[in-house]
Symmetry: none
Subunit: 496 residues, 3 copies
């Protein structure tokens, strides 16, 4: 098997990894909210009805930001249905997922949950069936100090203090024909601009995300981004990207997913900078990759419509999926200079790293571990990685690099983390890590998820990466074998 | 004065420097052709009327490619006026520069001169007053084997063998209101596509350059590039950029010119990649920066119209200008992955590195030396340069890095060249070169153009960079002072 | 096998078949001109160099109109290269077919040949590399009485009398990316309008054909027609259609070709009438189907570029192809109310009914016979045909009628002709012809091309349809079996 070389040099950095790159996403879909983060009837529920075991895992991994309440759900949602005395809240048909939304869990519950989980809230406004007025009302409800209709309603509902939600999404996936309120780019751009101006009139400190394409294969991509930014460039801080990879794509295509994510990100960056130049603007638009994950759609059961929180999209992830999520994490870190927000979709039960079943402690899926690594990268600097790697041919994709890597150096410069995945189901790759530019650093750990990592019988969860023997280091070079189909974190520390 | 650090690492490369990056440009303007490269009455003229002293300097510096015959001139030019028996060639009013064009020097003379100078020809077709038909006729004249009207005319004019001109420009500066045939981007795009198809029907092996913006301040930039590429993406290989810097800009603005060139290039790259994505194309469009230089317009004398080859744009360059051209050279090398062709405008007398006066040996202007360095970079790999440098404020520009650097490693890996300019008119900068990633390399030369470099009295030319004492090297680090307002080439060689 | 019924009634007529529906097409492509209609070195050549055997076949079948000189060729053609003393005419590279065009045969030779063949000329002007000026010059050359530059040049070239060419094509296939001068519909519409006005300024009596789509699968069809007619409706008489059917399409798809031709014609009629209504115009635009035929592209040999009249597109047609052409003839006759001009592409050697080989008498291909029938239909009335026929499934097409029929009644009403083809390779169809509405008419002949029609050995040509025994007639009904894969002409005459 050909060999690989990886070189990192502290002088060559991509940029600082934003804290929010490790975010996640909670939508009123299936059992993500009801039976996921909230279930008053479950033994693990706390006084607020939050499942404490789920909170435990979220706090353990320190999720930095959670996008809420959708996703397609938001494009038909009236936030006022979900506030005030629970018994007075109406049940509504959810037009996106054809469930019945009881509205027992709403904005106050969600922001309370975020506080309990120690995570920032990223709220989406409904630009599907509503416009600037309702959007401004919601910002008034969450952020206005008091003395106005909606801020007083908040106080009356037991929350006198404004929540100060900073990060807002101007609708969801408006380019998708499946979306309630789907409309051409020029119309969405105008509506988003109006909402942005109205919301900022309430609270000038908020940051706004305009909807980009729902995936890189959309016919309207990337003309959609150009049109939206041509109108909203000066009024928004980020443009969003969404992307899911999974069966029925082939195993080879799935393992090559990060190539599409790289290209998708780089094309959106090119589009932002082209439009910025047309507008003679020195402002740089950031990217919010606020829905990304492996999502297998091949085995989805048919759903009875109009039921409350039925089990939906409850993917069970395996080792392959963990390697794929590892490569997607690498792609985000490789582009940390421009991707400032990212949300793994979703957080619990619904294509999620955490599974919460009734009466059983929540447990970690295989993808929990590479997701944790993305959160850990927060505030470190992403390093340029010079990787020479063998390639293999994948039907429908072409020639694909066998190894996928990213690297970060901690804020204080003491810790260098190398994240290396091996996409080949067949061959391990003898790899030379060239650390000559890191004198005084010693390899301290090599943790690995390999295809062979045994799962303890009985317990449903997936075990953390296994510590494997440290390879020797000679004159700044480390020769290490990266096993077939593995996800590896190698850490070097500076000895003072 | 704060210090600077420069780090280069062989693992981090921009890309290979194309041989054509060091090209130049000869236009029927002023004394560039008549009295420049061609002057049968001059003592230095050879049998073809080419000034042998000019040829000598061009061969000395090995100019790789020369764009001809324009520039604005080409947009009113009939190539057939400039071929065949000289006495039968008509004199025409040149609508671009208001001179009388005697047509004594035309396509055959130009291609003969290129052969004599050992340089490739890059021909522009007239899309100002003519279209696809005339463009195809010119390709037939220069490249068709024989047996057709124009190829037989070539043979009759004494050149039976086809010239095989590979590189062609589809018109010139069509976005400029000053240009004969100036038209909106969509119209130019269509005309360029038709010309491209007709020219390729004659010779399918030619490479084509579509006109981009005449400078980065054009109101139509970069929408012009998007529109042109939307139509021509599959039919052209390059999009062009032009840019001139000079008085009446301030000294500070001029010394900061490379910042504009960097931004201009990066915006055109973003635009190309955005359009490529819209077209779902895997093809990458290259950039042809085929007019760039310092051009001082403040002291241009009034010109009597309708004279033959009057002195025009005869800038006399000084040391400042050499430093500026040094930084522009760095900008081109820094973007060698996408800028594949570049032409210093122009080659002789007209804003040029070479001056040819009647009856006096041609001499080198100050900018000759940094231009030579660009040509030397051919086929080497441009290296990423991690430069931390003090900045100073420049009115009208903002905060500007004091140092500007580029670096290359030779094809065989033996030679590392560091090109460092100091923009500050006041302060030298103590600089640490971190060569730890280059074990076995030793600094062998440090050549410098400094403000104090004395010019020998009498001789008009500017002396080559001066060799200055080599700084010491300790454990891969070299501490060197970069003098105020200087242009430096430091070379390190691998000792076997 | 199911049976079929065919009913025709003199009261139900589509419209009169225009004389020009049986036209053909001669392009400077391969051996259509040189070695086809013109070959001064061939023993069969007359004093003008026209092959008399080819002229014989053309006169025998009385071709009514011939389109010339192209087709793609015309989009790079300068008519002045092909007039005047032959030895002074230049050879040009033909950008369309990559041959060398010697220009020995030009406008005067073509119009002379048409006179000799007793056929009308339909000339195309070059809107690829030229515009309104050159188009008007050509009309001046052919139609202006005298006393102007180009009419005097005609006289000087030995043709004092104007030719009076009535029918003109405004360019060729401008919607095709392969076409020299290809441009968006709106640009072509504007250029065609300018040419129409300039040409009519010379001769107000000419009829003009604007370019429609190159085939019904073009992405721009039928938006192209709408845009062109929106601009040119009042200034043109016809819009063109082109369509070719052949391998690599499957045998079933090829035999179903007439379904596509029907739909193509009906869509263009709908588009014309839609635009006419938008313009509140009472004028009806006619259709000129001026390139149609079977064209097998699967076995085309590679061509050395830049040769004179190399053998190209020399399809050899078989019985299947004759049945297909028979159905295409039926499609044209069925739409005789709006399709006023049609040109079988092409006339000799190049996908043609007539083959002329050096030193051998020209001979008829299989498709000659159905083409002859189309010419015979001139000036008769096309009858509505009520046909109930079994259908069979064709992969890639769907359900396809087994029988295809058309019918005409002569100008004097004495002769009824029924044209019936059987597409099924497997089944003959027992068919009842209901002639009760034609009292006093008796079946006089049934001519047939059947799969079994034997081709005499040795002679390359294909024999004419064979007379088969007349079926009995009882009380206005005729029961006849239409053999599998056959093309039939049944004629009934009124007895006085």
């Amino acid at each position: 098997m050909a060999t690989a070389q990886l070189v990192v040099d502290p002088a060559f950095r991509v940029g600082t990894v934003d804290r929010r790159l490790g975010g996640s996403f909670v939508e009123h879909l299936g059992r993500c909210v009801y039976g996921g983060i909230w279930d008053p009837d479950d033994p693990a529920a706390d006084s607020n009805g939050f499942r404490s075991d789920v909170l435990g895992l979220v706090r353990e991994v320190q999720v930095p930001v959670v996008r809420y309440p959708g996703g397609n759900f938001v494009s038909g949602y009236r936030f006022e249905d979900g506030i005030g005395p629970p018994e007075s809240r109406p049940s509504r048909p959810d037009l996106a997922w054809h469930s019945v939304e009881p509205n027992r869990f709403g904005t106050d519950e969600a922001l309370g949950w975020c506080a309990a989980a120690g995570t920032e809230a990223m709220l989406a406004v409904n630009l599907g069936t509503r416009g600037a007025g309702a959007a401004a009302d919601l910002v008034e409800y969450t952020n206005h100090p008091g003395g106005t209709y909606w801020s007083d309603r908040r106080a009356a509902n037991g929350h006198p203090e404004p929540y100060g939600v900073k990060l807002w999404c101007l609708g969801n996936e408006m380019d998708g024909p499946w979306q309630i309120g789907h409309r051409p780019a020029a119309d969405y751009a105008r509506d988003a601009l109006q909402a942005a101006r109205a919301m900022r009139a309430i609270d000038g400190t908020i940051e706004l995300v305009a909807c980009g394409s729902s995936n890189s294969a959309m016919p309207s991509f990337p003309a959609w981004e150009a049109t939206v930014l041509e109108t909203c460039y000066d009024d928004v801080d980020y443009i969003s990207l969404h992307s899911y990879y999974g069966r029925p794509s082939s195993r080879g295509e799935l393992l090559a997913a990060a190539l599409d994510m790289d290209r998708f990100i780089e094309t959106v960056v090119a589009t932002c900078d082209h439009v910025g130049a047309r507008r003679r603007s020195t402002k740089r638009i950031g990217l919010s990759f606020d829905e990304w994950n492996v999502w297998h759609r091949d085995a989805e059961p048919d759903h009875e419509p109009w039921r409350q929180a039925p089990p939906m999209l409850e993917n069970r992830y395996d080792h392959d999926d963990a390697v794929v999520v590892g490569t997607l994490v690498n792609s985000l870190i490789r582009h940390a200079d421009r991707v400032k927000v990212a949300c793994l979709a979703q957080l619990v039960n619904v294509i999620a790293p955490i599974v919460a079943e009734p009466g059983r402690p929540a447990w970690r899926q295989s993808i929990f571990w590479p997701y944790r690594e993305l959160i850990r990268a927060a505030r470190s600097d992403s390093l340029l990685v010079a990787l020479t790697t063998p390639e293999h041919d994948v039907a429908g994709v072409g020639s694909v690099p066998v190894l996928d890597a990213a690297a970060t150096v901690s804020e204080d410069g003491d810790e260098l983390r190398l994240l290396i995945a091996n996409r080949s189901p067949d061959h391990s790759v003898p790899t030379t890590l060239d650390l000559r530019a890191w004198p005084g650093y010693a390899l301290v750990s090599h943790e690995q998820l390999a295809d062979s990592t045994s799962r303890p019988a009985g317990a449903p969860g997936w075990p953390p990466p296994v510590a494997v023997p440290l390879p020797a280091e000679r004159a700044g070079r480390v020769d290490v074998s990266i096993p077939r189909l593995s996800w590896n974190t190698l850490v070097a520390r500076r000895s003072h």
